[in-house]
């Protein structure tokens, strides 16, 4: 069997790539997808620990994380669409004023 630490390390690698992508990219939608990647990495860690301790609670947490992510995506994409209407761009650097 694969040790749990390997899975956690893979989750750490994916989380780091997601975090670097958030800092690296300027397209708001890609930044948003990188946040989803970080959530996925956390989910992998949850499932790996659920397997190690043979407790289903970890898998239930993944279930709730997915639901919250779906809600977050719905609101976030609505925000991006709204901002796009006034700024005509999804460049993160155009969103530097409090008042559109």
């Amino acid at each position: 069997m694969v040790p749990t630490s390997f899975y956690i390390f893979l989750a750490a690698v994916l989380f780091t790539i997601g975090a670097v992508a958030v800092l690296f990219r300027r397209n708001t939608l890609v930044i948003y997808m990188a946040v989803e990647l970080m959530l996925n990495a956390a989910n992998l860690a949850f499932v790996a620990f659920a397997r190690q301790f043979e407790a289903l609670d970890g898998q239930l947490f993944v279930f709730f994380v997915m639901t919250v992510a779906a809600a977050e995506v719905a609101v976030g994409l609505a925000l991006i669409v709204t901002i796009f209407r006034t700024k005509h761009s999804v460049d993160i650097d155009t969103m530097r004023e409090m008042k559109g």
């Binding site: 939608l29 397997r51 995506v73």
Partner: protein, 181 residues
Amino acid sequence: MGFMTLFILTGAVAVAAALGLLFARNAVYAALFLVLNMFALAVLYLALGAPFIAMVQITVYAGAIMVLFLFVIMLLGAEQLKEDGGPIAWQRPLALLLGLALLGELAYFVFAAATGQTRLLPPPEDFGTPHAVGQTLFQQYLLPFEVTSVLLLVAMVGAIVLVMNGKRAAQAQAEPEAEGS
């Protein structure tokens, strides 16, 4: 042995897809790389004894959420964006440096904490099946489950209100411009 090969292959696919998300010039390609990453993670969930979560991952994440992303990318026509350094020149080197530091710290703690780990036993027969997950969900986690439905409702109403208000604001902005010209 079989599981190790599966882990290495799937993990390589997951990391490569994540790197594709990081470096893809086109936002549509980035979204498709993320879909690939989610499929790889679903395979890992299957290997970890979580078939229900793996299927939910594919239908909800790779299916619903990524379709929403692709829809918005194509709706806004935002797939191509000039990706130069941006106004802050030192942001990207710093991002790489901080990313490497984060990875180093995480790797240190993962492997420092993994010493003296016991071997994994085969899981119980019904571990992670829809039946077992449903039992836990509707007994132990019934209240969070109900609260989640409220959250989804609030998110839906919020999204609709945001888009409608944005429409009104854009119209209000467009009208004075039209009068001026």
